[in-house]
Symmetry: D5
Subunit: 127 residues, 10 copies
């Protein structure tokens, strides 16, 4: 089941602004209603707090293991998205953060959910 | 025929802003003029009202059944678009909502209709 | 329901061999098990009998109306494919004929069915 | 030759703002200089005036016939674009309107012309 | 109307076998039934007879003018294809020749017609 | 774990030859070496035995459930492919059968495995 | 060598604002350092001055000949871009103008240069 | 190892604003953790200072050699990005500069890092 | 002008059969009729004679310089193709050789010419 | 430098014929002439000998390490291809084997080399 403790961080390497995007193309969880697996792409986009203010970045492998912990969890699209947003926001306290989940079609309908924390600049919102 | 009562909603899972996009790639209705079937892609994009204000989200399967209720309805492109916009706005009372219908070509011309409710942020209007 | 009588033919215009391919991208029928609509692309590929032997071609608009007659029919993928193959073979008595149905995914699996009549040359079988 | 009288309109179905885009992929006219045919894609994008103010939409088939009336007309790219803009603006008196013509290459150069009427919102100008 | 006399040929430049393919992406004629324009791509693929046997190739600009002579002709898909095949075969007497016409969709169905003259090697038939 | 008993079959609908292709785009199992999940596309391509000889087809939903039974199984690419080939061959006794597994990249290398049963016609082997 | 005198203009056809884009996909010049040819795509995007103020547009064929005059010129990417910008600005005195040159890769690096004249609206700058 | 001294500059050719983009598609360095090579695309986007203020541009071949100097360096994604940003900023003192590194997937996750110097106009930030 | 003497060869590295394909995407020559430049992609595909029989391969840079020697030559598509075939066949005496030239469109028609020397295996002819 | 000893094999899992394809998208070596890095995609396609005859398959991670051992080797395209073919043939003694190397362009020319061992079935040769 989703395991916040898997997330590890390292100090942000710079005070100069930069933006990090991780695109995890092999996310899978389970639909709590039907018991069938769901598949999607999870994108994490964020600006870390400056290193001088103790800013941190999530370590890539720990992020992968964290996402894998959803593998057998029964959880809806919206809940996955909000859960990841909340966990990453808590772990990193970034300037701002955007989570986008893009799900494979079910019954001819595919869904994209975007959740944010902090003030995401307008040019990133439609990412 | 289009059946508003098929739409079911569930409470928005969060007060933090998020945006939901459902892309229904297998929409079909009937042209009232020629009697031939029309085919298109219907996109619903919206920001639910916050959960603390009683915000709700449309349930995905009920949205699918609602769209299927247009299958044998004779109805023009513009009317489909406005009807779905009005029905979803009434069902969810979201912060804002955008309906885009993207129709397969007829006679060498293909059409895209966008209708909105509430104040859609500019970066979403061209979605 | 599928209506063979809708198919109309016209005399093949030539004795020289030629091959005709019609790709109908907006086919829809209904799954007899779930009642949900199915969507697919139906390809008809055939070589008409020579005009000097009474060869005929199916008229395009009548083919469209024939395909539309499956719209509200509950019928499986394999049955659709065999039915169209049999009806077209009966209507045209072509040299050979290939029907390919290519269905939108359901539950993460998409299907392609190919059925033939007569001796289809090897280079067309994988079309 | 281009025939304004072919354009027919119907009352805008709503007072709520919506935007209509028609993409005509099979436009052809004749180059007045060389006599050779030109081919292009004509896009009409507009917001009708509200129905309560007598707003109207162009009827799709009449728009197709109107575009077909350029088939044997000797006329330059810029003139086609301005002519369609002026005719549609006169016929519909929309809130705003954008005509984009996207021409197949000639001599290794392809051209795109955009002409507007009224105040087109910035997010549409690059459509 | 289609004008055979527009076709001009020049001597094949070599006795060594070679194959020529011309892809005319801007073909248009008129549907004799509806009066609406048809649009398609016409491909000519052939092996000229050897120059030592008087083999010839069709001159490219004359081929273009020949194709343009169908612009206002009311003629069906199959007839266009057979007509071009017959005219080119007569003009060039090539080793073999394949004409493929690939038409824009009408009513959700698009068509591809292939007609041959002589013994087209199997690896070209599905071109 | 992989469960052969999930596979259900139904009688082949016809004696006329036809070919069935199911493309399962959401297959996942677990690498027995690293414990990390693997993701791939599994294609089943086969010609059922004729109905008059007791030929059968695998039922689509049972095939989906069968593939889902590999979800938490630690198993190598080659073993997955051979296992599915053997299970399907045993369940259907088809004329011939091809299993192709196409795996997402690992460490910059992606792999495709093809296993067959019976005499697969040459034009399908490279499918 | 680049020949400004090849550029010819014609009066802008309208006072209503419109934007013209010419995309020349077959530009070639010579690298002054290596003597090897460079290949790129040159895009000209501009808004002509209004016709009532003497606004003009560059004639398409003259623009083609002008670009061809760089064929055997040894000239760097940046210099090509600035030269074309300056020549076109001088010839047309447009409201604003953007030149983009997009070069084929050399040694694994490809380059895009954009130069402007006048106040190019923000939504065009990233064209 | 990364070698700043490889970077050479030449005077900016103009005072008129222009923007230069170099896309290096064959960047490789080494992961300091696993010792395995990393592969990515490095994009440099900048506006040089005006030539009248001593503005300079980086010479393309020297930029290539500089990037090649990372080939056997063990260095993380974020450090590569910041290092290149800092080195180029120091070498050119441009108006503004954006470095984007787009990395091939590792374990199903691919990453994109963007770092800036100076005030990058908003329409470029999402480049 | 085309300069055969630019072609240099090196001994084939092996007796085991192998096939070499060079795709030159930036070929340009001049149309002898109009004086306008032509652009195309030249593909050379061949199997060298075995090294034990004195087989040789064309050196890549010398092939590039050879192709550049057509830059200002007025020469037709068919002649370019036959000329390159003859020159390469003379220089390398390979087992077999295929030259394919794929030209950018002119007046809406694009052309592909293939010329061979020796017995090209069937599966390569349609390359 | 290329290190044959890195290759490890495991027993082929079956006597039934199957075909394995590994596509290594991140190959790099060094040009011995210029000292610049080369980048390409290496495809290994083979049919292992049957397990009852002691057939083996190359282990995927060892294949990756083997390919990485070319990273700083100065070696030509043809030599890379023959070397990998020889090493893999020696390590696995497969029924047949095909190595394809597909190189990023240099100076506008990109190259594809294919080398084989044993009797590769015709339908794979053009893979």
């Amino acid at each position: 089941m989703p395991d916040f403790s898997l997330l590890e961080c390292f100090p942000a390497p710079s005070d100069t602004p930069f933006v990090i995007e991780h695109i995890a193309e092999e996310f899978t969880s389970v639909c709590p209603k039907t018991g069938h697996p769901d598949f999607g792409v999870v994108t994490l986009l964020y600006e870390p707090a400056p290193s001088s203010e103790g800013g941190v970045c999530v370590e890539l492998k720990s992020f992968k293991l964290y996402l894998q912990s959803f593998r057998n969890e029964g959880i809806f699209y919206e809940a996955v998205t909000n859960r990841i947003r909340d966990d990453l926001a808590k772990a990193m306290k970034p300037r701002w953060l955007l989570i986008k989940t893009d799900w494979k079609g079910r019954g001819g309908i595919r869904s994209i959910i975007r959740a944010t924390q902090g003030t995401v600049p307008a040019h990133w919102l439609h990412a």
